[in-house]
């Protein structure tokens, strides 16, 4: 089993899909000559040429719109945002054109497009460059939202995203591009809507995804294990569609749920999970669902305040103690 970085896994997915389907092309800022702001598209220009690896001006709304138009007429664009923060400039294109075209054209135009790039906070990038926007995009019917937490999932899910006939929002993490993991040999894809049990446990369910899963939830689960608390840790992998049954099944087993996410609390993805759980497995809950989110403020630039604002191992352990009624 080869071990690759998350960056390399994404690169392989795009490279393989470009070989498999000549309609696939990559467009975005610095994806070609600079080999990508985070080097995900390293070498692709050389291999596939400037018709399929396309550099753009700093004009997100424009190149997102070009991608949507290309998709409507039969191509399969991958639109890279240098970060998802900049997608807000293209918000109207993604939300009003990509997400709604199939419905508003009476089924005549589907939009097979992937918007991808890193999301969430890194180190001291301050408020406008540190946002976890998954709940925002998951809000809109017509968009699928994918958030891998490891190289294997990243490759399998990106290939599925590229083959999907409708728009997919694919959110990575710049903090994770260098993180390595094993991936299967050869061709594989991972379906949307199928979550992953990162580790099995019996005392409490933690649902988390992407960076905070690996950097916060896993570490909290390790510490809790030392304390005799067994965590059932679930990575839904795709925010929309969500693998509800996997979460319900776990809550039926543990009777308690903590959701760890990087976004803000109000109308966050965790709020939706909490609702679905209380609606569908109400009788299995022994404690109110707890959420660990970013604090409800624009993320501060100052490092100490940034750390204090983001989800942490300590916050997760506190939440777990709460749902377990531990002192």
């Amino acid at each position: 089993m080869p071990t690759v970085s998350l960056r390399e896994a994404l690169h392989q997915a795009m490279d393989e899909e470009m070989a498999r389907d000549e309609r696939v092309f990559l467009v975005g800022e610095e994806v070609a000559q600079y080999n990508g702001a985070y080097k995900v598209s390293q070498g692709l220009l050389q291999k596939w040429g400037p018709k399929r690896i396309v550099d753009t001006p700093i004009a997100e709304s424009g190149f997102a719109g070009i991608g949507i138009g290309a998709a409507m007429v039969g191509l399969r664009p991958i639109v890279e945002f240098m970060t998802w923060n900049f997608s807000l400039v293209a918000f109207d294109q993604i939300v009003n054109n990509a997400a709604k075209m199939l419905s508003m054209s009476g089924g005549n135009f589907n939009v097979p497009i992937v918007f991808r790039g890193p999301g969430g906070a890194a180190h001291s990038l301050a408020a406008t460059h540190s946002q976890a926007l998954e709940s925002l995009y998951a809000h809109f019917p017509g968009l699928k939202v994918v958030m891998p937490s490891n190289p294997k999932d990243a490759k399998g899910l990106l290939k599925t995203a590229i083959r999907d006939d409708n728009p997919v929002v694919f959110i990575e993490s710049e903090m994770m591009y260098g993180e390595k993991g094993d991936i299967p040999e050869g061709e594989y894809t991972i379906p949307f809507g199928v979550g992953n049990v990162i580790r099995e446990g019996s005392d409490v369910t933690i649902v988390s995804w992407s960076k905070v899963l690996q950097h916060v939830a896993v570490k909290a689960a390790d510490q809790l294990a030392n304390d005799g608390i067994s965590v059932d840790l679930i990575d839904p992998r795709t925010i929309r569609p969500m693998d509800w049954e996997l979460i319900f099944e776990s809550v039926r087993k543990t009777n308690r749920l903590v959701i760890v996410e990087e976004g803000w609390p109000f109308a966050g993805v965790g709020a939706q999970i909490s609702h679905e759980v209380s609606k569908n497995v109400f009788d299995y809950l022994d404690a109110p669902v707890e959420r660990v989110t970013q604090e409800d403020v624009p993320l501060p630039y100052a490092h100490n305040l940034e750390v204090a604002s983001l989800p942490s191992v300590e916050k997760v352990i506190n939440a777990v103690n709460k749902v377990l009624y531990r002192e």
Binding site: N255, F282, D283, Y284, L285, D286, A287, Y325
Partner: protein
């Protein structure tokens, strides 16, 4: 007037009792009729009411301590009454000191919180009359027929949560029974027997030494009973168990076998014109045999209902003495553990006990053909002083006929 409170005799076989919990402390006002203290007898945990109103002036036996029947355990008197005389003629040292007793009691499970206790503890949190409980706790309470109001909530604002229901169930759902304190590997440890354990030891030894046991086993085709049970549960939307059907079948059979439904009394035997059937229920540190009275008159649905209630209260140690005594016959079922057959010891003063194994799927011969069938083996242990081999065999023959033709258990008159 100052009165001594003595350790009461709570069962026929009780010789001493353990103080589980004083509901009041010295100096508290107590009222006649209110529960004063919880006592563990050899059979169950029981509440002792105060016979007089007054001030609880003196507690002789602390929680965890033991006292023989009739020994003083407390004094209730007026606030300024002189109780020196009463104190004087009471042994200065209590029968058993709490400090000594406490570490010796690892096998005694904590009693579940009782209703009166809870009310006092949680009225402050329930001023609006609502009971706060997690959804899971509500579901578990319904499933186990526990009154939420009777459970003390340990969550925030007195919320009743899963662990409270489990405590009320006597910890039977907890993965590790608290009664089995692990023994450090490589060492040995003396654990004092609980009152219930002592009673079992005494009575079983007595039974095996005085009643000459013999054993007769029969295999029963259970497919008719399985179909019967399925039909009953479908029609009545009930959860009739095989034990319920077995109780009814034994009762019906016993009524035509007075030699088996009997007690040896030296120069005579007492034959019963009723079937009071006891069912053995395992507890963490022993077993109890709640009794279903007059099963010959009761239908299977009623037996089901009463047995459920008795078993639940047996597990919570809430049986009253007349609910675990007076049986004429006992059924002990280890089928749920995958046991195919075993030999039980007669529960005196009864004349016989039925040991029930599991229903097994296995090849059987029917009409000259080998087919897959479901059979169950039952073994009757009989007291040879009053029951002979052929009598026991005929009893089992009839029992087999009833279970293989379960419609005979339904009253049509």
């Amino acid at each position: 007037m100052a009165t001594k409170v003595a350790m009461p005799k709570l069962s026929d076989t009780m010789t001493e009792g353990v103080i589980l919990k004083w509901r009041y402390k010295e100096g508290d006002k107590v009222k006649q009729g209110e529960t004063l203290v919880e006592i563990e007898s050899d059979k169950a945990d029981m509440e002792l009411e105060a016979f007089d109103s007054g001030i609880l002036r003196k507690i002789f036996v602390a929680e965890g301590g033991k006292a023989a029947i009739g020994a003083p355990i407390a004094i209730i008197a007026e606030a300024n009454e002189d109780i020196t005389a009463l104190l004087k003629d009471t042994p200065p040292t209590p029968p058993v000191k709490a400090q000594a007793a406490e570490p010796q009691r690892p096998v005694v499970t904590t009693p579940p919180p009782s209703p009166a206790n809870t009310a006092a503890a949680s009225t402050t949190q329930r001023t609006d009359g609502r009971i706060k409980a997690s959804p899971l706790a509500r579901k578990l309470a319904t499933e186990n027929r526990i009154e939420l109001r009777s459970v003390s909530g340990s969550g925030p604002q007195g919320r009743v949560i899963k662990r409270d229901i489990e405590a009320a169930l006597g910890g039977k759902r907890s993965p590790l029974p608290q009664s089995y304190a692990p023994v450090t590997p490589g060492t040995a440890q003396d654990v004092e027997l609980s009152p219930i354990r002592k009673t079992i030891a005494k009575r079983m030894t007595e039974s095996k030494q005085t009643a000459p046991h013999f054993y007769v086993t029969v295999e029963i085709d259970m497919e008719p009973a399985m179909a019967f049970r399925e039909q009953l549960n479908k029609i009545y939307e009930s959860k009739i168990s095989f034990t319920d059907i077995l109780v009814k079948a034994c009762a019906t059979t016993l009524m035509s076998h007075p030699h088996v439904n009997a007690t040896y009394l030296g120069d005579k035997m007492r034959q019963y014109g009723y079937a009071h059937v006891a069912v053995a229920v395992a507890l963490d540190d022993g077993l109890v045999t709640p009794v279903l009275r007059n099963c010959e008159q009761k239908g299977i649905a009623r037996i089901n209902q009463e047995l459920r209630d008795l078993v639940e209260r047996a597990r919570n140690r809430k049986l009253k003495p007349d609910e675990y005594s007076g049986a004429t016959f006992t059924i002990s079922n280890l089928g749920m553990f995958g046991v195919d057959e075993f030999l039980a010891i007669i529960n005196p003063p009864e004349g016989a006990i039925l040991a029930v194994g599991s229903i097994e799927e296995k090849p059987v011969v029917k009409a000259g053909q080998i087919t897959i069938g479901h059979t169950m083996r039952v073994t009757l242990s009989a007291d040879h002083r009053i029951i002979d081999g052929a009598v026991a065999a005929r009893f089992l023959q009839d029992l087999k006929t009833h279970l293989e033709n379960p419609v005979s258990l339904v009253s049509i008159s």
